[in-house]
């Protein structure tokens, strides 16, 4: 091979090397983008998993939002602050937000420590569901233990608030058990994993009745049916509730030997 041939070969090799380097750089760039997208997806998945069962999360990611639901039996717990309107008007907004955040933190802990999940915060209200993510034959016990934990948490928190010269809190909690449909509901812009059915409405109305009866925790006969008999309950007159054909048996929760 003469000098010309050698130079031509060298030039060809240089061109090939340049092409290879360019392709390698592009490949690395695409790979980095894929890795970054994967990480974002994973973070999203982890965050979303706090609001919906893992199976739902994976299905949404793999195939998009599903529109069918599943029929489930759950125990719904509704809690809110007694005298919230007066509280909101008596403190500065930033102080109110701090009080509420401390309250929600404690309420959430009382729910998750007892195998429930917080479905939503509405104003000062907390809706928690037991048995919505995973089947739970002991959901009634868990829900009532959670309500008792909320009672303890609010008492502790109120002592703290009182020591700082802030208003103390009191809560009302209503519990009901029943069936309904769980799934992703909402519009294209805002969706949530929710439980739809009369059960949540009844729990909310029972929670309203805590003011009427002067108690902090009320449950219905449906919850009592599967409840550990060691819970100390006080029967109250059955209540006529809107949308429910027959009067609903009610019980005030006084305590449990284990706290």
């Amino acid at each position: 091979m003469g000098l010309t041939g050698a130079l031509a070969l060298l030039a060809a090799l240089l061109v090939l090397a340049a092409l290879w380097w360019r392709s390698e750089r592009e490949r690395r760039r695409l790979r980095d983008r894929l890795v970054s997208a994967s990480r974002e997806l994973q973070n999203l998945q982890t965050s979303f998993a706090r609001f919906a069962p893992e199976e739902i999360v994976e299905r949404v990611i793999a195939t998009g939002v599903e529109t069918h639901g599943e029929r489930k039996e759950v125990t719904a717990l509704f809690a809110d602050i007694v005298g919230y309107t007066a509280l909101a008007e008596s403190v500065e907004p930033t102080v109110l937000v701090r009080i509420l955040n401390g309250y929600f933190e404690r309420m959430s802990r009382a729910v998750t420590d007892h195998r429930g999940h917080v479905s939503t915060f509405v104003g000062d209200g907390v809706l928690a569901l037991f048995g919505a993510f995973e089947p739970n034959p002991w959901q009634a016990n868990d829900a009532v233990h959670s309500a008792l934990a909320m009672r303890r948490e609010v008492a502790d928190y109120s002592r703290e608030l009182g020591a700082r010269g802030l208003p103390r809190l009191a809560i009302g909690v209503g519990l009901h058990r029943g069936s309904g449909v769980a799934g992703l509901v909402g519009s294209r812009d805002l969706m949530q994993y929710a439980f739809v059915g009369r059960t949540v409405n009844v729990a909310s109305r029972v929670q309203d009745l805590t003011r009427v009866h002067g108690v902090d925790i009320l449950l219905t006969g449906a919850v009592r049916e599967t409840l550990d008999p060691r819970f100390r309950l006080r029967p109250l007159p059955p209540a006529e509730l809107r949308g429910v054909a027959r009067p609903v048996p009610l019980f005030a929760v006084e305590g449990h030997p284990d706290g």
């Binding site: 890795v35 739970n136 034959p137 016990n141 550990d228 060691r230």
Partner: protein, 365 residues
């Protein structure tokens, strides 16, 4: 460091128990000395199960080692079991899987960068582990479409269920991660990587189908053992259950109560019915058992059962930090041997009842 080293992992709640003879035997059988053996040594049956269930000992007729290990990893990642995940990850790296590939697999949750059969096998394993609901006929059809035989599907179910048990046995006491989990990164290992990989891969033996007399598979939870009839995994599963039952640390009644609670939580009627049958043989039947299962409490329970029954329920679905907190509280109230026996039995119960739920869902047995 890679793997699950970022997962919050508590201090081990039991002290190691030195048994040089048992440790030496396990080291000979496994070809390496594992630091978890002294912790399992409180319950020698768990050391024996660790050896008999080792993947390289001719267990699998249909699966190759990499697929089995990846199913194990997918389930362990899902259960956030730092011990199981990091140990098997190190092993896979020693077989020659590059770190870059390992990280890609992890970042994508074992859903990509895998061939179709392996991807579907990992999905199947995860679904069995979550059991909410268990895998169904569509999942099995997906595995068959990917080219996996019926025997391979059953062996995948076996691996996933064994991971379910192993994750609990490691997570509940918070077993200390093996010091050699970073072995693949040592410069000596990297220098000799091809030789190390050859040696590690060379220890894996394929199993052979076995002729098993029907009565050899009989006993507690026989309907689960028979899922693997004709495969070495049937024999190993039968022996493991019987060895656990024979351990004198906790009575049989306590063990079947753990199974009954787990079965009730998972909603597996057949597994629950089997546990009740076994409890009846121990003198606990009918309304007494129903009363215990209804509220996870009863004046008829002894000191350990009063703690074990509600704790068993916690082991079905859990967050690592939360279950380890509860385990720590439990460990303060019972002996290390009782704790490890209970942890082992919780692992066994979760394994058997998930397989039971699978068998029901697929009408396999």
């Amino acid at each position: 460091m890679a793997g699950l080293s970022g997962i919050e992992w508590g201090e081990c709640v039991v002290p190691p128990r030195r048994d040089p003879e048992l440790e030496d035997w396990a080291a000979r059988e496994l070809g390496t000395r594992l630091d978890l053996v002294p912790y399992l040594a409180h319950t020698p049956w768990q050391v024996r199960a660790l050896v008999s269930h080792a993947f390289e000992r001719g267990l699998f007729v249909h699966l190759h080692q990499e697929l089995a290990e990846l199913v194990w990893l997918a389930v362990s990642q899902d259960n956030s079991c730092r011990y199981c995940y990091d140990t098997h990850r190190a092993l896979l790296r020693l077989t020659g899987i590059p770190e870059a590939r390992m990280r890609r697999l992890e970042e994508q949750g074992f859903t990509a960068d895998l061939d179709l059969p392996t991807r579907r096998a990992c999905d199947f394993g995860r679904r069995l582990s979550r059991c909410n609901p268990p895998p169904d006929a569509e999942d099995v059809a997906g595995l068959r479409e990917a080219g996996l035989s019926d025997g391979a599907v059953r062996e995948i179910a076996w691996v996933a269920s064994y991971a379910v048990a192993g994750n609990r046995i490691s997570t509940l006491p918070a077993l200390p991660p093996e010091p050699h989990e970073d072995m693949p990164e040592r410069w000596t290992v990297r220098l000799l990587a091809p030789l190390v990989a050859r040696r590690v891969r060379g220890r894996f033996r394929r199993g052979r189908p076995e002729t098993q007399a029907a009565e050899s598979l009989e006993g507690p939870y026989a309907f689960v053992v028979r899922l693997f009839e004709g495969l070495p995994t049937a024999r190993v599963t039968r022996e493991g259950i019987d060895d656990a039952l024979a351990s004198p640390i906790l009575p049989a009644r306590t063990k079947w109560l753990v199974c009954a609670v787990v079965a009730r939580a998972l909603g597996c009627a057949r597994s629950e019915s089997e546990a009740k049958r076994l409890l009846a043989a121990e003198g606990l039947a009918g309304e007494e058992v129903e009363g215990i299962l209804r509220h996870l409490a009863s004046p008829k329970l002894d000191r350990v059962e009063t703690l074990a029954v509600p704790f068993a329920r916690e082991t079905v679905w859990y967050q690592t930090a939360q279950i380890q907190r509860k385990a720590r509280e439990l460990a303060k109230q019972i002996s290390p041997a009782e704790f490890m026996e209970l942890a082992g039995m919780a692992g066994v119960a979760n394994r058997l009842c998930r397989l039971g739920a699978l068998a029901d869902a697929l009408s396999w047995a």
